[in-house]
Amino acid sequence: MNTVRLADIAKEISSKNAGNYFLTFDIIFPDRETYERVKRARVLTSASFSALYGVAESQVLRVIEYDPGNAIKITMRRPRVSGDPGESDVFGAQQYAPLLDVGVPWEA
């Protein structure tokens, strides 16, 4: 089985604050079929997400498979509150980067 990367198949991959204490990640797919294949592959779960970001699974608060939007939404607690001294991404806008290269098993 081949593997594709999320960056190859998603329409949108982004991160943003959801309030100042949380980061929310949105992965939106261009159509129902792509979305369903990613869902079936179980590559975006709280276990895989916490492993990718090196945080305890308890810090990953929600993984929502949002059928109406062909989207998977993941929310985690920020390791540092937005704008705290030493914190370096006030909007949380660049935290999605590792998601680009998440592999998805893909049958041709």
Partner: protein
């Protein structure tokens, strides 16, 4: 059905952030709207603006947007509503917007009209009393309830008003409403609710258009969109001819900046969107229905506080020598040891904070960075010092700058100088460092008790 629908124009996704495009705004006026509204605020903008009560956008840009909205609203005799004035929604920002509107009225010889200024700052003493009464104020962000220490650590506190304050101002006959910190959906939902339309549809419409053209596709910025609430549904339509609203673009926006696309919590209740439907109404417009309003047992508002941490000083340096890049840990240890040697009476983490941001390595993601051993050919280092003691941040930054230049590590060859300094002088931002201190849910006995309304007659 005609006459029972209410059209609300969202002039711009963020008032004053940059002046909005006028063409799509004027196009919206051709559609005979019932209200003109815009949100000026965000909680995303960091704790500084609230804590320091500092303006987020230049006054000229805010005046540009306010002038177009207020003049158009008065000409058409429809309400103009602006929420979260100045970004953080402080009292000073509300007064500033009122002052700008007074200036516009003078310059344009506008007829007499009423501006409602609704304030949202929360006095520390009020929260002290509520805590003393034993009120439980659960954390929304922090996983614990509000304490007296949080209150005392706050330089400035605001509460986010719900739609009730706007409804009261409309009842009082306001032509223009300028509010402090506010829920964004309320700004747009107020007029439809005031006219008797469904609260759920109106709030859902508000949440849908509050970011303006972000709800359409392709995504544009600072363009006008319109939401039309009817007894059965609402319609959302962009006014820029190059943009359309599709079910996909509208549904996609329900994900933006929130944790749950099915639930929109607000003061007094939540919007359950699990049965919402989104269909293409015409080639440019999406039709939305099905949201349900679920009242809470008690009326709670979000309270935000920001507190002063200290003065800030920065040193910006680049390293290109692979030997020094490989020894960054040792270099940073050397710097910290030097700071301890000179400032042994002060405690790191209390009297001062010293941070090393290594761009090219892990500055952006910090502890979340999965790439543990990057091999950049050069790195950018921002050494950030924060201290409440006058002068200390600058002195420690100076010491850090000197030390990164002179730090020793095994095999060092570049003995003449160990870093490329962007500037030899320490960079001292004119802005101090603040942090979020309060992000909690406060129960209110009366939805208006924290939001005094001042009516001002302007123009004429």
């Amino acid at each position: 059905m005609a006459g029972s629908e209410v059209k609300v124009v969202c002039a711009t996704g963020s008032l004053g952030l940059t002046p909005f495009h006028e063409e799509s705004f004027f196009a919206s006026l051709e559609r005979d709207p019932d209200a003109i509204a815009a949100d000026a605020g965000s909680g995303d903008i960091g704790p500084f603006y609230l804590g320091a009560d500092a303006p987020y956008s230049p006054r000229e840009w805010e005046k540009h947007d306010l002038e177009l909205m207020v003049v158009a609203g008065l000409e058409r005799r429809i309400p103009v509503l602006v929420g979260s004035a100045g970004g953080a929604g402080t009292n000073r920002s509300v007064d500033l917007y009122v002052e700008i509107i007074q200036e516009i009225a003078r310059e344009r010889n506008l007829r007499a009209f009423h501006v409602a200024a609704i304030y949202a700052e929360v006095p520390r003493e009020y929260l002290r009393q509520r805590l003393a009464e034993g009120t439980e104020v659960p954390g929304l962000g922090p996983p614990r309830s509000l304490t007296l220490e949080d209150v005392e650590a706050s330089s400035r506190i605001v509460a986010m008003m719900g739609v009730e304050a706007y409804l009261r101002a409309l009842e009082m006959g306001a032509d223009v409403i300028i509010t402090g910190r506010s829920c964004d959906d309320a700004i747009f939902a107020a007029v439809p609710i005031h006219r008797g339309l469904d609260r759920a549809l109106s709030l859902h419409m508000g949440k849908t258009i509050e970011c303006g053209p972000m709800v359409g596709t392709p995504v544009l910025m600072r363009e006008t969109v319109m939401g039309t609430v009817t007894p059965e549904c609402f319609l959302v339509e962009p006014l820029h001819p190059g943009q359309v609203c599709t079910p996909a673009s509208v549904v996609g926006h329900t994900l933006y900046e929130r944790t749950d696309p099915y639930l929109q919590a607000g003061p007094g209740g939540s919007l359950d969107l699990s049965r919402a439907t989104y269909v293409q109404h015409d080639p440019r417009t999406t039709r939305v229905a099905g949201g349900a309003y679920v009242p809470d047992p008690e009326y709670r508002v979000k309270v935000e506080g920001a507190g002063w941490v200290g003065h800030r000083a920065l040193v910006i340096a680049g390293l290109r020598d692979r030997l020094s890049i490989a020894n960054l840990d040792k270099i940073f240890e050397f710097i910290k040891a030097e700071v301890r040697r000179i400032y042994h009476r002060q405690t790191a983490g209390k009297d001062y904070h010293l941070f090393f941001h290594v761009y090219g390595q892990n500055a952006v993601m910090q502890e979340l960075e999965p790439l543990k051993h990057p091999q950049p050919h050069e790195v950018g280092i921002v050494m950030e010092v924060v201290s409440p003691e006058p002068g200390l941040a600058e002195h420690i930054a100076k010491l850090a700058k000197y030390s990164i230049f002179r730090a020793n590590y095994p095999g060092k060859l570049g003995v003449a100088g160990g870093a490329a300094l962007l500037a030899d002088e320490v960079v001292k931002p004119s802005h101090d460092s603040y942090r979020w201190t309060i992000d909690h849910l406060l129960p209110l006995r009366d939805p208006l008790e924290l939001f005094p309304i001042r009516m001002i007659e302007v123009g004429g």
